[in-house]
């Protein structure tokens, strides 16, 4: 309690350090992105962002993100549900595997899929016969994005579900409620805000994914280039206005997500206060 009342120098030093850090490492680069994007005037900026390949890249990013969020919402809920509500063999292993994508470098994640689905793999002829192409195609990009963003939703849900325990579900089950009813009426209201928050984090991470996607994409302009990859391509081609204009789209998307996050957090907290 003492430390909260302390208005001495320590408080101000910490505040200054925090702001200085955020300014240098976050705010300045952000301003720089925007100023570079608009350096050759608003006309050049508009031309850059309405460029066919930029739009296609943005669409592909959105597509991959939507896929990743949809798949990971279902997988994340399932994983969190089974880890917290059931006791089974291999629970520890599963729990560790969920964290794997965070600990493994995205490049390696990309390479794993190249090795699994690429030409040298035993799976390749089977997939080829079925006319499915994964490497250097959109499915590969989606797969890589799903892999990298997998832990976000389940990791948000697990603590909430653990804190809730299994009593309420058991009570509902004893009254004869089916699994789906139990989920809809008892579990879902509880995890709603955590789930939305997890989705927000998952979305943000999916939009920005570079490493794993880079390995799998093949960098085909207008076909397998996501926004981050395309930005890299423009940058390497000394098209700074183009690169930074495309970046500004990504920044805008990130800001929208950030605002969403703030709103969700506030709403969730309000509800929690009522029902705690």
């Amino acid at each position: 309690m003492e430390i909260r009342k302390n208005n001495g120098p320590l408080k101000w030093i910490l505040i200054v350090i925090s702001f200085l850090f955020l300014t240098i490492f976050l705010l300045l680069p952000l301003i720089y992105i925007l100023s570079t994007a608009f350096r050759q005037g608003i006309g050049a900026y508009l031309v850059s962002i309405s460029d066919e390949y930029t739009i296609k890249a943005a669409m592909l990013t959105i597509k991959a993100t939507l896929w990743a969020v949809a798949v990971n919402t279902i997988l994340g809920i399932s994983a969190a549900w089974c880890l917290t509500k059931f006791a089974f063999r291999g629970k520890k292993i599963l729990s560790t595997f969920i964290d794997l994508p965070v600990t493994v470098s995205p490049i390696i994640a990309g390479l794993i899929y190249v090795l699994t689905f690429g030409r040298q793999s035993d799976l390749y002829p089977i997939l080829d016969d079925m006319g499915i192409q994964i490497i250097f195609a959109v499915p590969g990009i989606v797969l890589a994005t799903i892999f990298v963003t997998f832990p976000f939703i389940s990791r948000e849900l697990i603590p909430v579900l653990t804190a809730q325990g299994t009593d309420e579900e058991e009570a509902a089950a004893l009254m004869g409620a089916g699994t789906f009813t139990i989920f809809r009426k008892v579990t879902f209201p509880h995890i709603k805000w955590a789930l939305l928050y997890g989705i927000v984090l998952c979305t943000a991470r999916a939009m920005g994914e570079f490493g794993a996607v880079s390995v799998l994409s093949g960098h085909l302009r207008g076909k397998t280039n996501t926004l981050p990859l395309y930005i890299e391509l423009l940058y390497q081609g000394y098209d700074f206005t183009g690169a930074f204009a495309a970046s500004s789209i990504l920044v805008l998307m990130a800001i929208i997500i950030l605002i969403l996050r703030l709103v969700l957090e506030k709403k969730g907290k309000k509800e929690l206060d009522i029902k705690k």
């Binding site: 309420e168 009426k185 009522i274 029902k275």
Partner: protein, 359 residues
């Protein structure tokens, strides 16, 4: 419980249950008659909650039969066993109002909404919580939550009510009120009820019958009086009442050394403490002891005296002359339980016989 086999309603036969290497239930046999209020009493980890959860179908026994109303229910899901369950932490649905909580079981059973409304208001009246139907569980007091959990369990008209440590999460004062309330309710509704507790006062006060468990085994079943006056095992003898275990009981005056007995048990009501000269009757046969500690219990005083290296408790009325710590007093022991493995016998002070002859 052989004499009490008048139509067992809930029966467990030769039940065994393991959790990994932990043997949670060892050859459990119990029979509970219809309409009785029964307590499962034991220290924590003694397997009492496991028994309750197996009856509810929340756990499956490894072997043995669970029989309800004459039918083996091992393979019948808990929801079809006609059971109401009150959880230790109540497990009220915290995102539903009191009304929705109580109505949940009926809605699942697709009861028409009109009947649900009637049943819920009837139950709210029963638990004297009218007017609270729109509140969320977080907006209720501990006692109210407990009663709502009770109403929710009762809503679908179960044949059996199971309660897991129903009073554990409530503060002492409200707990006493709720105990009485619950006993009245259950007697009124005539519903077979089983509750788990680790608190012997609670079990003795509330239950018609008590099942004492220890280390996964059932030690004894019987009425509170039976457990008190004729414990069936040394565990029950030590667990029930405020018991003191005595090793060197053969040094006590007027108690014959029983060859096989290993230890003895004294309860406060077996012992009387007198100030010097206070009692005429037992002076010759009383032991001298020094008061070590006095604890004020409100309605009486617990006096602890040191006798042959044992700290022995006795109760004195607050109306009797006051004894002080360090004072030498006369201690008369009326009787004690002698334990030999699992054989127990009650022995009386032999001077009682002699003096009665004299008087």
């Amino acid at each position: 419980m052989s004499d009490r086999n008048e139509e067992a309603y809930v029966e467990l036969k030769e039940i065994n249950k393991h959790f990994g290497n932990f043997h949670a239930s060892k050859d459990v046999n119990i029979a509970i008659p219809k309409g009785k209020l029964v307590a499962l009493l034991g220290p924590s980890g003694s397997g009492k909650t496991t028994i309750l959860r197996m009856i509810a179908g929340l756990e499956q026994p490894d072997s043995g039969d669970i029989i309800i109303a004459g039918n083996r229910v091992n393979n019948i899901p808990g929801s079809e066993r006609g059971i109401g369950f009150v959880f230790q932490s109540y497990a009220l649905f915290r995102y539903m109002t009191v009304y929705d909580n109580i109505a949940f079981g009926l809605r699942v059973k697709k009861v028409p909404e009109k009947e649900i409304r009637e049943r819920v208001s009837e139950l709210l009246k029963l638990i004297s919580c009218e007017g609270l139907e729109k509140r969320f569980p977080s907006q209720l007091s501990g006692g109210q939550r407990q009663r709502v959990a009770f109403a929710r369990a009762l809503a679908p008209n179960p044949q059996i009510l199971l309660l897991d440590e129903p009073f554990a999460a409530i503060d002492a004062k409200v707990r006493l009120e709720l105990r009485t309330w619950l006993k009245e309710m259950i007697t009124k509704l005539q519903i077979t009820s089983i509750f788990v507790t680790h608190d012997q006062d609670e079990a003795i006060e509330v239950a018609d019958e008590i099942i004492v468990t220890n280390q996964g085994k059932v030690e004894q079943c019987g009425t509170p009086q039976e457990l008190y006056s004729s414990p069936a095992s040394s565990f029950v003898a030590k667990f029930i009442g405020n018991s003191t275990v005595i090793k060197n009981f053969d040094r006590f005056k007027y108690f014959e050394k029983a060859e096989e007995a290993e230890e003895a048990i004294l309860r406060p009501e077996f012992v009387a403490v007198f100030k010097k000269g206070e009692s005429v009757q037992y002076t010759s046969s009383a032991e001298k002891a020094v008061v070590e500690d006095i604890i004020f219990r409100g309605s009486n005083l617990e006096v602890r005296v040191k006798l042959y290296d044992n700290l022995i408790s006795s109760l004195r009325s607050i109306n009797e002359p006051i004894v002080e710590i360090g004072e030498t007093v006369d201690v008369f022991i009326y009787r004690m339980f002698l334990l030999n493995k699992d054989r127990i016998c009650l022995v009386h002070n032999q001077s009682l016989k002699q003096e009665s002859v004299v008087i």
